[in-house]
Subunit: 183 residues, 2 copies
């Protein structure tokens, strides 16, 4: 019996949480025949970007994160608008958050935001040779400090576990694998 | 002006979502004086475990994940019960999900579940020399297939981006750094 043979018996819409719509799926467990109510957070995908200057510095954004109540150093990024492509969202978010724009864009793959209870993915991009020639345009709910860190130092911070966001860690991993720094 | 100087003006309790309590924080942005409503999902912490047999195989659990509707290969783990320590939760979850128990436990650190909108952390442990001498005891909402993979193969899968859960990726990263496979 495959672990995928769960049956969704029915579902109910849950409350709207601004960042998410919610849904309750009533899933029948093939192992024991019992039905369990599972919460799903529905949202658009998101994107984050490894943006590197010609001087081999990577652009980070320092922000206050309300979930854990601390400042984090994260990659630029954000939500993919409806109808937008992930790469386009990456370019837009990079410029809006940091004013940097870049010519060379490479996909570094994607990962589930959280496969347990979210239906979305985060897409990773590498933007090489970025320049601060765009226009910063923050949302009302954003305040960011743009920080450039030499990529060797980023690698050390990565090894030390200095990054607090699992999505930033995965993007950095994909980047260092892409660059064959990790092999 | 520090990016941490946001003020929480007030908060409201949101709906109860079974896996989470929700809270709306009304945060005043120091950059523009505007107040934005932010959703926070409140929950207990969780834990995942790199459990290695004496034959240098790592124990994974194959499960169907409702969020993305696919089977994933993940590390054993789960929620830390109220009043429980993270390591105790790791030992309990490893045994309940896989029947493996182990003598040597090392902390591999923790990371925020999602610092943007969650208040919890996931703690990572390395359990070395595990043996299948315990008792599997799955929750009603679980169905898992236990899979042993030689650690060299795990490393290749890790490099290829085969793991779908960012928390599993971070635990594996901390493990390979700990083992000086990545340095």
């Amino acid at each position: 019996m495959s672990v995928s043979s769960w049956k969704r018996e029915h579902f109910e819409e849950g409350p709207d949480l601004k960042l998410f719509k919610t849904r309750f799926d009533f899933m029948n467990n093939p192992r024991n025949g019992k039905t369990e109510k599972m919460i799903i957070l529905e949202s658009v995908d998101s994107v984050n970007v490894i943006a590197r200057t010609p001087e081999k510095e990577i652009i980070f954004v320092r922000q206050y994160r309300f979930g854990i109540g601390v400042e984090t150093l994260e990659l630029p990024g954000g939500l993919v608008d409806r109808g937008e492509e992930a790469k386009g969202a990456g370019k837009r978010e990079l410029e809006e958050e940091t004013a940097y724009t870049g010519a060379q864009w490479v996909s570094l793959g994607k990962i589930a935001s959280n496969p347990v209870f979210m239906d979305s993915y985060i897409h990773h991009y590498f933007a090489d040779g970025v320049q601060p020639d765009g226009q910063q345009q923050l949302d009302d709910g954003e305040m960011v400090e743009v920080v450039k860190i030499p990529e060797d130092e980023v690698y050390q911070l990565f090894l030390e576990g200095a990054f607090h966001h699992p999505h930033a860690v995965n993007a950095l991993l994909r980047y260092f694998v892409h660059m064959q720094k990790i092999k």
